[in-house]
Amino acid sequence: MNQILILFAHPALEKSRVQYRLAKAARAVSGVHLHDLYELYPDFMVNVAREQQLLLEHDIIVFQHPLYWYSSPALLKEWQDLVLEHGFAYGYEGQSLQGKRLLNAISVGGSRETYCAEGNNHFTLRELLRPFEQTANLCGMTYLPPFAVHGTHNMSEAVIDTYAERYQHVLKRLQREIPPLDPAPAYLNDWAQESEG
């Protein structure tokens, strides 16, 4: 079984509807380790040794966060800056993360349609996530398609619940297997849906 580590970053979880529900759903999956960064490091003093140890113990790393300015909240960026050290994650001696998988599980205000060349956001989500993809590449990890919730601004509770359920489904399936990469599904949502149907 693939060991899954979720690095969860939300600076104001008490105000969140979608990420709160997703995190709760993820916690309920047995064997998944949800690591709440803002709860652990409120003063941004990331414990590098501990975080590196956690990475070594898992096979699939999930960055779960809302998309802020097409990137992660500040603490998750801090985490990357500090934990993915030269000599650990990359470089001549930095082989520790080789063969692991990385993906983003994100919530986005805009609809899926606006994330394309003709839409307001001009790029697809996958294109905007390129910095994460290249980070994975440099560390010798395989980057997987994202799990994404679009249009969170006025989403009904019922719809959020179906997303939470689907997220659980994705995590459970990831514990058993890795999605095909050629051709890869645009979102892991689609992959989960296909297996549900």
């Binding site: 003093m45 800056d81 500090l82 934990v83 993915l84 050290e85 030269h86």
Partner: protein
Amino acid sequence: MMFLQEAFIYLAAGVIAVPIAARLGLGSVLGYLIAGALIGPFALELVTEAGHIMHFAEFGVVMMLFLIGLELQPSLLWRMRSPILGLGGLQVAATTLAVTGIGVLLGQDWRQALAVGLILALSSTAIALQILGEKNLLKTEAGTSSFAVLLFQDIAVIPIFAILPLLAVVRSAPTAEAAQAGSVITHLPAWEQTALLMAAVAAIILAGRYLMRPVFRFIAESQLREMFTAIALLLVVGIALLMQMVGLSQALGAFIAGVVLANNEYRHELEANIDPFKALLLGLFFISVGAGINFALLQKEFLLIGGLVLGLVVVKFAILWGLAKLFALQGGGRYWFTFALAQGGEFGFVLLSFSLQNHVLPQAVVDTLMVAIALSMALTPVLVLLNEKWIQPRFQGAGDADGGSLVNDGLGEQDSPVIIVGFGRFGQIVGRLLIANGTPVTVLDHSAPHIERVRRFGFKIFYGDASREELLHTAGAGRAKLLVVAVDERGMTNTIVENAKRHFPHLKIFARAYDVTHYHELQKLGVDYIEREMFLGSLKVGEQTLQALGMRAYQARRTAQRFAFHDQQTIDLLGQHELGSQKYVSEAQRAREEVLEILQADKRNQRDNSDHAWDATGHE
């Protein structure tokens, strides 16, 4: 000798009977009543004349009303005006009418029937509140409704005293020393009596508002704990005397005084001091009620008295149930309310002797009713037991099995989730942060001048010695979530922590430590979170110093935080060794040197372990 003997008998009876009754699930009231019946003139004959004891023990009811008043801020009382007047007024009116009607139908003279109706309309404050308190229901809807009715009855006693003499069959001049015995103003014209009465109430309110605070402060500054007990008792006794003088119900006067003092910062200390007296006197009162039941008369007139008791309970029950329905008391709460109040009350005894003296009722009727009221009081805990075993389970799961949902604007409003002990430089910061975030806090401090200073800034702060379990109890420790011990004296801190741990194991405890050894002491006592009092401030000054010497702000900040991290590790390491042992001392030395080494190594390398990745030389 007589006194000691009697005290011994009463105390022994209580000590033996009440724990047994409590263990059998009968509740303390029934235990006291049984104890009283056993030692009374009709069983073991250990006490022959319980009347004077009852008179004395009635003072427990006065104290109880005072304590209830302390819990009830004027604004809350004002919000309760509609249940008090509506529920209470209707209960008294309907019960009086019903009993009078039945009396007339049975061929009694209407005046006697009305007198009996007025007397039986009253319920027993002592029994109802004691039972509801024991079941933890005082703050539920059923509890506040019961209280509203009892309060109205207490007020109604005054006009009843005035009406009863008018109902005398044989008109005679009302005897001055009647039940308002001791009232020195009965010879005055009515308007002067009224004026004096108003003046007395006004005096209580004004003294409570303006005079008591400096008095309490003066007493507190003496640092003698027994003086506070003395002033608390003096206060209640004084009010009772004043009320007696103007012919007002003592319990009502004490209640008013309590309400006036509800906002006072010495409230919790007052409560903690009076509570044991109240509990003992009430116990004594119940015992004397039990001892006063005339079993000889009961045997002789068994059918008549049995019928009276049954009739009384059924009539009251029906009216209360109807009112509870009318006022929309929900589910199980309706039954708690009904069962708690369906009996005759202690005021009934007083009013009966008053009626006798004023020739309203003949001796035989008075004797019979005395027994009937006492039996109805003794029956209440039994009925409550039945309610608990048979009726309440039907409401389990409906969400409001226990006397209805807790009312937010009732008696419970003053409960805070956090209690802060010690409101000096440390506690104030904790308190301000919490209050700024809308978290209500209850603050205890035992320095009178300190309280005076802080009060001016609008904090809700109470005087008291928090190392006493009773005080923590009255401050609401049983219902709070968290206790912050911010006292500056280590011995005191430890005592408070130990007491809180023993009596309120559910409380999370956060504490202020004097230094590292104190930190470890507190850790061993099971404190959940500890902060050394000087640590964070000093760390901040160190950080600023580094910055002033040329270190960039963010670097200085992280250096300080890293120092704190290593320091905490050292503390945790030391915590594994016996306090003060040889090993502890050498470990402490070694660990301190180690931290220094780590930090200096970081400095030499111009980088450190954790921020490695930010260093440009780290990249290839």
